[in-house]
Amino acid sequence: MDDMLAVARLQLDYAAAVDNDALERWPDFFTADGLYRITNAANEARGLPIGIVHCAGQAMMHDRVLSLREANVYEAQRYRHLLSLPVVTRDGDTLSATTSFHVARIMQDGATLLFATGEYRDVVVRDGEALKFRQRVVVLDSERIDTLLAIPI
């Protein structure tokens, strides 16, 4: 239970950072060599290596945030994450968790869409004081993305 609530708290903080546009904090939820991937369930089931986003290490995550802030063009939008409780297993100091999510996307004009559903497959480790994601694989249930996916899930 403690593990579950600790992981849940990490996930909540992550979701709050993303939903409140604190993207600069996003890489800090990962270990320096952390892996962040977004893919979909069909690709995973077929063992296909390419998904939607592939960030290996905090540096690539910083690059993505920088690109979103400085280079890319997309309409103002925000997400609202809702998560299940995580199902956590522990192996030594490493926690593995699977967690369901619904993510709504709200456009500047107010249009609201259930943008993404799926499962987080997380590997969480202690990094100094804090828990961090060593791996966060976002497996989308749908192969379909409306318009574009800018903000990380």
Partner: protein, 411 residues
Amino acid sequence: MTLANDERRWADPGLTRVPYWLYRDPEILARERERLFMGRTWNYVALDCELPEPGDYKTSFVGDVPVIVVRGPDGEVRVLENRCAHRGAQVCLKRFGNAKRLTCVYHAWSYDLDGKLVGVAFRNGVRGEGGMPDSFDAAEHGLRRLNAEVYHGLVFASFAADMPAVESYLGPVIAERVKRVFNRPVKVLGQTTQELPNNWKLYVENVKDSYHASILHTFFTTFKINRLSQSGGILVDDSGGNHVSYSKIEVPSDDPDYDVAGLRSDQDGLRLRDTTMLAGRDEWGDGITLQILTVFPNFVIQQIQNSLAVRQVIPRGLDRTDVNWTLFGYADEDEELTRLRVTQSNLVGPAGYISMEDGCVGGFVQRAIGGSEELDSVVMMGGEGAESQSTRATESSIRGFWKAYRATMDL
């Protein structure tokens, strides 16, 4: 919204003006289905490698018409309309499958892989009652079979029977560039669908539009992956409908044309922390780092550094379009190269650093032209023709699209 016939005009005889009603008129969809997608065009429907074994099938689309792409017992690929000859149900429901016969779930009519009707449940009735009358001739009730050709690993289909070969449809210049990428067997590395809030033609124009590349996609220019001042150009076939846009890396220089333009996209301070994505390999030995190729009406082959993809553009309504992305590599490639393609996949697709904008910009047009159906877009960059040019600061290939479109649609 329904425009009366005299308003549905295309006043300009040339290619530099495109009336906005083409993206908004409800009647255009049916006409495009009939004359374009079900007319004299070759439509990409699958990669040959998606169907390795006899009986393997994939469901796909020609325009928005559902089709089945299936490998027959003889190893040849057939394309069949995915609509039962009985009462019209979709025959194959799964995205991928394998079958010896195609059996409709509704009343179990079954077809061989040529589309021939080979089984009609209770054709003779039950205990001598019911069943089909003698006038029923199974030979008249097969699945509609399309013309099909596998061209260097790409499966094309056409509702028209008397099509020229794909190679001749492409024209020699474009065909050469298709073969450059499809020079040996490929394998699928990932698939995704991007749903766009705009007419399909706005997406196709965008892909053909070499003018926007270094302007809209600032990631591109900032990191010197590509800029219009690189050497490169566009190739357009005689029909106008097929094109290639390409560029080669050169040593970046201070470029006065950029300074004059004062573009938003030229931010000198921006540098990546992790540059593994940029460490491309020159796989084709020609220094070409970007080759975007389209086949009329709605097919894209993309090489962006080492990221390879085909994109099938599917109209879903007047202001709704699906782009089916299939990212691929070569069947025989080493793991390291695959890893490079995985890393470079960040450049493309719905979340790609240099393709993200293409997902939204069509919608920016679609929603802005509501009050302007009698007005035109202006397509004059690079002149008035649709010829190949040795610069990418041109809209020549867009004019080529409309040249082929007007001819095919008789507009």
